[in-house]
Symmetry: D2
């Protein structure tokens, strides 16, 4: 039985993830992501209207031309969760494959919207929802299971291919969270069972592999948020919060704590609307009466109402945690909305600046403008969604794979993971595969 793994994208950078696994004639593709920073470095690029090859040349989407080297048929395209670096290229690449897109319900809804926004290509792949814990037949000898994992977006899974030679675990983007806010705890038990059953290959997310210790639970970010917001309990002026709009659990906590301190939460911004409505539609406990305004005019109206009825009655939750020039908070900072800051108003960033000079510059400018208007800044009320060094150690202890392929980073980002794996007995070039975009790793012949 031939098993090989094509490491197509995300093996030399963070972003544009894509990996294909071939088991004899059956191929499964995991993730088709977008590297947004390669797009934003250029002025005025609109990806919706661009051709795949131009985006490949820009380094924005995976270069899937290596797929032609794999002899077999793509049976499924499987995004692990709904972040853009995992689904953002589906609109550009999925139509080339005669295969359904299979994901968790939340992920699939986001894929559907991604496809709807695409204006260059017609994408008519089937969209198939599968819950964590469920299994699907891929070919004669291969089944695919979704294992529930915890991440900074709901509905994240680790897909597992069960082959006669052992399981192949595609483990990108997770933290071990025993106490998440809305979802079930991380399914460590299942990973341990997989380890007992035998794992042929484990593909791991190295995003935070170089950070010491363990990533705390979302419940810690929640407590931090509660501690921060309740410390404003006696404040009667304006409070504004911003976070990742896709981070449904965080948005949920913000909504809850707004109420706890006697304020009406209002979500503002197109992407706030998109993710939160999707979550509500799928049954996540977003209150029915939560006000969300995505469109320009409705946002303006909401801001005016906030100003009229008194800022002290509201907690606007807005986009702009990275200081993105066109996001809501940045516009508020530039005084381009009806919202007026008063001296002493609070702005809570429930996010970390992504450590890259462009972001840091934009975020610095946004904060400076906010401060010029009198706002007080509360930063980094946040925990990451990616495993750190000790989480990786624990996963290796549980999964005990025959082979490891580190992913989701440049080589220097992968390096600390390699150090860890080697210290656990793996050997680079033998059972630990440092791969690059466009490579094919042969597992069995």
């Amino acid at each position: 039985m031939e098993i090989e793994i094509a490491t197509i994208g995300g093996y030399e950078e963070v972003g544009r993830n894509m990996t294909a696994v071939r088991v004899d004639d059956d191929i499964v593709v995991f993730d088709m992501g977008l590297n947004l920073s390669q797009v934003l470095i250029h002025d005025d690029v609109r990806t919706e209207q661009m051709h795949s090859l131009d985006l490949i040349d820009m380094g924005a989407i995976p270069d899937d031309r290596v797929m032609s080297e794999l002899e077999g048929d793509v049976k499924a395209i499987v995004p692990t969760h709904g972040h853009l670096d995992h689904i953002g290229a589906i609109g550009k690449l999925a139509h080339r494959y005669d295969a359904p897109v299979v994901g968790s319900p939340f992920t699939i809804e986001l894929v559907r919207q991604e496809i709807d926004d695409e204006s260059k290509f017609d994408v008519d792949n089937d969209l198939v929802k599968m819950e964590a814990g469920e299994t699907m037949e891929i070919g004669d000898e291969v089944d695919m299971e979704f294992v529930h994992v915890t991440h900074s977006i709901v509905g994240a899974v680790s897909p597992v291919l069960h082959t006669p030679e052992g399981a192949i675990v595609y483990g990108l983007d997770k933290r071990i969270d025993h106490n998440p806010v809305l979802e079930d705890p991380f399914d460590m038990e299942r990973f341990e069972e997989l380890g007992d059953e035998g794992v042929l290959c484990y593909i791991e997310d190295c995003t935070n592999a170089g950070r010491k210790g363990r990533t705390p639970s979302e419940s810690l970010a929640r407590e931090h948020l509660r501690d921060t917001l309740t410390s404003f309990e006696d404040y009667t002026g304006g409070i504004v919060a911003t976070t990742f709009s896709s981070h449904v659990e965080r948005v949920y906590s913000l909504v809850e704590f707004a109420k706890e301190i006697g304020r009406k939460p209002i979500l503002l911004g197109r992407s706030m609307e998109k993710y939160t409505n999707t979550a509500r539609d799928l049954g996540y406990p977003i209150p029915d009466d939560l006000e969300i305004y995505g469109h320009r005019r409705s946002r303006e109206r909401a801001f005016k109402r906030i100003m009229n009825e008194g800022k002290g009655n509201f907690l606007p939750v807005v986009t702009g945690h990275q200081g993105e020039p066109r996001a809501m908070l940045t516009r508020m900072a530039r005084d381009e909305t009806p919202f007026q800051f008063d001296e002493g108003d609070k702005v809570v960033f429930s996010a970390r600046v992504i450590p890259e000079p462009t972001n840091e510059g934009q975020r610095y400018a946004a904060e400076k403008l906010l401060k010029m208007q009198g706002a007080r800044i509360y930063d980094e009320v946040h925990v990451s969604g990616h495993l750190r060094e000790e989480g990786h150690y624990q996963m290796l202890e549980a999964v005990r794979p025959d082979n490891i392929i580190p992913a989701h980073q440049s080589l220097s980002g992968v390096a600390p993971y390699v150090d860890l794996a080697e210290s656990q007995g793996y050997t680079t070039g033998e059972d630990l595969h440092i791969s690059r975009n466009g490579n094919v790793v042969q597992l069995t012949e």
Copy 2:
């Protein structure tokens, strides 16, 4: 009425805090602290046997010779809490003043031990305990009140001198914690009342003034610790934790969570014994059956028992969070104790490295040695005990003092606080006094 404030120590550095307030003929001294790093830079210095003047020359204790310029009598020496940079010079300096040492019960017990350890001077000042919320007469026209504050040690207070010209609030070393672990919440209400009544002068702790946002509650460190330790629930090998031995709430949390994961906590190290026993004696809820071993032989015995009965049954809580060469954890790392690390054993640092190259070098070495023995490191499970920028903002909003004297930092550490105070309308040189060691600030004449 003449009121002046002598800023004796801690106005050019972190450490050796000492401030004197004269109200006509009555003088109160706040804190007499030690700057330990000025001692440790020299090899083989034993402070217990050193003379005050030598320690002053080293920059280790406050240069109290400026006291001769103040015309009046010292009526009380008032340490705000039991950290060494606030009480560590009492053994060297207090005997020069015919005045009692007044502090909270926990602080006074630590002062008593400090004095017992002193071998150069006879210190026979009265030791007087006063609880937060209580008031004491200082002179005809001056009363001293203790306001309860929250810090990284129990029993911390902000002493307030009530004078006919307004209150003088000595506010060093606190964070605004609405939800501490063992103590009452920070008494913000009383600070607001003081603001309403009129504060003539506010002396503030600038330790973290340059850090954005607000210092979280101890409950956040507690949750982080719980999240970390419970993630080891299934681990059957060794787990070791280290923290500030004076941080009674943190030690208490460690003891609790040890039990929560089915392990017997054992405290090891002289200073662990000192602070924890003191807390227990004073009624803090340290379990009666908690095992604590300070002396060499008993520690050895405890380690042997741990090794014999199985590391999986214990959680040793030890000194050494900064990698101090002679602390327990460093000795364990150097394999100088009976404790043997196995591959995969966990070491939790519930502390932050104090950011100074000597500490960083020592801590790095300790971690490297621990890793060489197979230990896994969990770092910075911690929150600071000092206000950050937004806490300072909030205190200014509450206290609204006529005058401010920033303290507890070098000038560059004071600088961000000055920026904040100026942005709130204070003027350097008028009502905002950037002072230096040995200065006297005239408030009223």
Copy 3:
């Protein structure tokens, strides 16, 4: 005799320098500068057309309203050199004073151009040139001398007011350079004489006071540049250099070394044209046949010629060393000029990124775009123009002033200078004056 010093601008930030010295009835104003970053944080601000008060509110120019508190007549406005943070507010503020602008010839030419560009105000102050080493009568009892100093622009001086009470030395913006490229060495001898004669007050530039050691000579930057450019001697493709266009010595070195490696230097960009032509007009040894193109069309033509005749024959020296969005190099990086990079082409930044997140973000983007086009980056071929810690130590040893006023920084930037001065025996609040914008320091009464 009354002597007082108003510290008007640049005492809480880098930029918008302005200081006034009153000696009885005679006032001299030193510098009227612009804080460009306060302007650039806003989109689409055109300072030429703005009113002074708006610029004051933005923190962009000095708030000179404190001048009304000084009882006397302004006799001269004296910019020390031609950088914008020293002359950039002359167009906005000088017309309010009935006094000539006095500066070195190079500085005065730049002031003239600054005034010509001003479209809001009519500025008709006399412009008076005075060479270093010369002296001018200011009032009955006051003379002003210019002492030659070395900085990152030619024509820099330290103005000295000779009063009956001693000299007042305004020492902003210099390094001690014993071996500059075009100018005479730093006139340390004169500063030592001044020290011998008696200096009442010394106002010092703290820009780099927190950096250890001593600022090297411009000759070191020159050697570094030579070493870099000659290492390209065999390269036949494109080489581009960028530096501060006001840094005439650096531009001169670039021009020389271009020839040394067989290339024709061409200067491109408006500000390149402005500063270099001014220097040539004043007799600095800029070659007569040096090609300089400031205007859009002529730049385009030059680029086309470079492409046609072969990049290997030219060394374009362009603006854009900070990645400024509209500068030449950034446009080249964005492929908005006829210049085409080939794989392997060299870009030399003879400058340091000013350490502020906005600059760092812009510079990062510029470099990333250059690299995407195949360019190789040579960074930080540069030395600073400001004294570091040991230069300050040396100046204090020479000048031995009775009073010191640190300038040209925020308080945290001033802090290391204060530490130094205190270690040399000065006392804050007595003879060492930590001042703030808008303060008046009384020296004699």
Copy 4:
């Protein structure tokens, strides 16, 4: 013809370099180095008396057990230069091989001393000197040539094995210096010729691969040193300099500039004596009358003479640039020598702190102690001896190897080099080999 390369040490760390090349039956070993930091982390380890296996276990010397997998005979052991991370394990490992040690004359002299100091093993390998530019027969079909390179020690070479399949270039530890101080310029011409003739494999030093730009020439460090020391020309007190004692060119510059400012240079410290005497014996232009004192008693005497005859007449050049606890400068800082610092005395560090927390802590302590005695610190008067990114680019352009093996770094240190090589068309896993300690790379079969 079989060619394979065993990457034995230095492929996972900086230090303990060792690489073996097998061409059919002939094996050449390049470097046998020591990783000193693995030794120093332990207290009181004396390597001279330790057994190889213990040192291997500590990670201090290369684990050469992989040599048994290579079928052939070791024909030569070839250290590239005399730094400890290249020759420091010869005393422990060379005796296992029946082969001469071949190096440049300076290197061989240092190897001889290394062997003399070894007390555990008898090392009686022949020591053979070969000059750069010369060639030696290794086997029937293999010749070894030494190409002259420039580094931070004299006598550095890049050995090249000429095989029928092309050249194998072992390129560790060099910078491209067109203008060194004592030696000939870097032999770029020869590398270009090798590139033209065909290079089968290039093994490259990645120490500084992650630093932008190009490493300047030693002449830049020399100019910096001259600029620094001549700025002290009028100072009549003490001046002390420290640098790498093995850096003969730097020591030579110090000696020269001491005289230029009218001071007698005196070298102090055992390793100063060792390297400088070796250089003098081999004809490097170290003045015959230069005073060098290595032994305790003679150093004491020299210090006393300096104090008696006046510090202003001397420039002591001492060991201790990293703040090593037992080095001369650290002892001087701790007042353990007869040398007394006065306020204002100068200490020049012609070195950079090796960026590792232990060094940084020690260096910080040394500087703090020096400052407590009144010394003024001049730091980083230095340039590195290792290629940066653009030097690597240039080497690749010249050598154009068929295969590349990056060395002399951990994986994260190697990563930027891999990025560079990939951007130049190499493919990891094909012609770009990311190897690890103990691996064998098969080049031809």
